[in-house]
């Protein structure tokens, strides 16, 4: 495996290898020296065309804990804002000897283009592209579910997951559906009809418009952020209506089975898709998701960059 572009690229064995590797990486954070020499002398470029503080620093920390050199390349204030194309940016990074490019782009498919256009020789990791995919988020979500619901071992057979919110624009939902299906979990998407993509019936999951009917039957519920710009785009009448129909508040949380966890990829809008009571409750695992994100990204970087380059590709 040279690139990580889509959660669909991962078969069950590869996905489990990443999760198992992440579990060993997680043990490192208990040590006084939180650093491994594994990627010494390798260069990882964080190429972020879209603002994303948490994903970028998560990748940065993961690369640094493996002793790689990290360069952060943000589109704002760079050559990209002066009109440079993705190709020329890529050729520049290649000339500087990047071993891996972690890319976040507003256009769906940009990482795929970067990986397959022969512009660069290194690995490409998709850190979120348009409304398409965000595979490392799906991996850290699966890792978090496995820790809480399956004792940190094996796959997610029979785990029931509800994903609630703006499915239409969510790369997190798409990657999660693909990966959770690979790992044997059962996914139900919950959203108003206006926030579901065309062709949703072909996705390997259930769809519901009724959050109250779904909550009692899931082991994990994942709330998606409603982006500010969507609130004025006629996907739903008002923010208050969305919140009362699809937001997770304390009363709704009590519909969940006792063991169920509440997840959110962040950043949260308290009072919108999730109430403060839920966000601060014992069931909420958001802070843990952040910590797990570093471990999962260390695992991905190690598995893509740690060994010999696959010459056969």
């Amino acid at each position: 495996m040279r690139h990580l572009l889509s959660a669909a690229d991962l078969d069950r064995d590869r996905a489990l290898l990443i999760l198992d590797t992440a579990a060993e990486m997680a043990a490192l954070s208990d040590r006084s020296v939180k650093k491994l020499p594994t990627l010494r002398g390798r260069t990882v470029v964080n190429l972020f065309f879209e603002d994303s503080t948490r994903t970028r620093i998560s990748f940065e920390l993961a690369a640094k804990r493996l002793s790689a050199d990290v360069i952060n390349f943000a589109a704002k204030g760079s050559s990209v804002s002066k009109g440079e194309s993705l190709k020329d940016t890529a050729l520049t990074l290649e000339a500087m000897g990047a071993d891996a490019v972690v890319i976040r782009h507003w256009d769906s498919g940009a990482p795929h283009r970067l990986a397959h256009a022969n512009w660069i020789g290194g690995s490409v990791i998709n850190a979120g592209d348009g409304t398409h995919e965000h595979p490392t988020q799906a991996l850290l979500d699966a890792y978090t579910m496995r820790r809480h619901l399956r004792d940190g071992k094996g796959a997610l057979e029979g785990v029931r997951v509800g994903i609630v919110g703006d499915i239409l624009h969510s790369r997190v939902a798409r990657s999660n559906v693909l990966l959770l299906q690979t790992l044997g979990a059962e996914v139900t998407l919950v959203a108003p009809p206006t926030l579901l993509p065309i062709g949703i019936e072909t996705w390997p999951c259930e769809v519901s418009y009724d959050i109250d009917a779904v909550l009692p039957k899931v082991d994990a519920v994942m709330m998606l952020r409603v982006q500010q710009e969507r609130m004025h785009a006629a996907y739903f009448p008002t923010a208050r209506e969305y919140s009362s129909l699809y937001g997770l508040n304390g009363d709704r949380m009590r519909l969940l089975p006792d063991h169920a966890i509440v997840m959110h990829p962040g950043p949260m809008n308290r009072g919108m898709e999730i109430s403060a009571e839920v966000a601060d409750s014992d069931r909420a695992v958001m802070v843990e998701q952040v910590a797990n994100g570093v471990s999962v990204r260390m695992a991905v970087l190690y598995l893509l960059l740690g060994g010999a380059k696959e010459l056969s590709e």
Binding site: D20, G307, A308
Partner: protein, 186 residues
């Protein structure tokens, strides 16, 4: 090497030999450490961990106290990572109480080039600062490439560099034995 034409497999240690060697190593460890109070045994996966647990059980039996036994995966510290595809990690578990100020005994099945132990010493450096680090191996087969030597050896077995030493342990392989085979026979 004329006899190596057919499937050449010789057993160099039997199950009883392995049991006696582990028992002797346990006694030697305790003797040198003047007791078992500061000892921590760390096995190198996979068979080193099994051996460490066996030796730990013998020490507990003779000294009457439980010796902490853990495992130390050295994959991320290897010097040949870039020569092969990335490999899966094994478990690292450092016993509660850590290794600071302790006498750490690394346990592995076969000592060959010494590169694994070099990596293990680097890994230990990131875990803590032991008072001393010692090395116990079931088989020392020679051909060292680094200035590393074992403190406790089950058996010295001179080998040709092309031969393979295979350690089988009951817990993993179903029976105890050490065999030498000529490379390319399988």
């Amino acid at each position: 090497m004329g006899s190596a034409r057919t499937h050449d497999l010789r057993t160099v240690l039997s199950g009883d030999d392995i049991a006696r060697a582990s028992r002797r190593i346990a006694h030697e460890i305790v003797e040198k450490a003047k007791g078992a109070s500061d000892l921590v045994l760390l096995g190198i996966p996979t068979r080193g961990v099994t051996l460490a647990h066996r030796i730990g059980a013998v020490i507990s039996e003779i000294e009457g106290i439980q010796v902490p036994v853990g495992s130390l995966d050295i994959t991320l510290y290897r010097d040949d990572l870039r020569l092969r595809p990335a490999r899966a990690l094994e478990e690292t578990s450092i016993p509660e109480g850590g290794i600071d100020g302790k006498i750490v005994v690394l346990v592995d099945d076969v000592l060959f080039s010494g590169r694994t132990i070099r990596a293990a010493l680097d890994a230990l450096n990131d875990v803590g600062r032991p008072a001393a680090v010692r090395l116990a191996v079931l088989v020392d087969r020679g051909h060292r490439e680094l200035p590393i030597r074992p403190d406790y050896v089950g058996k010295n077995i001179p080998t040709a560099a092309t031969e393979q030493v295979r350690v089988h342990l009951l817990e993993i392989d179903g029976s105890d034995s050490v065999e030498i085979s000529t490379k390319g026979e399988h």
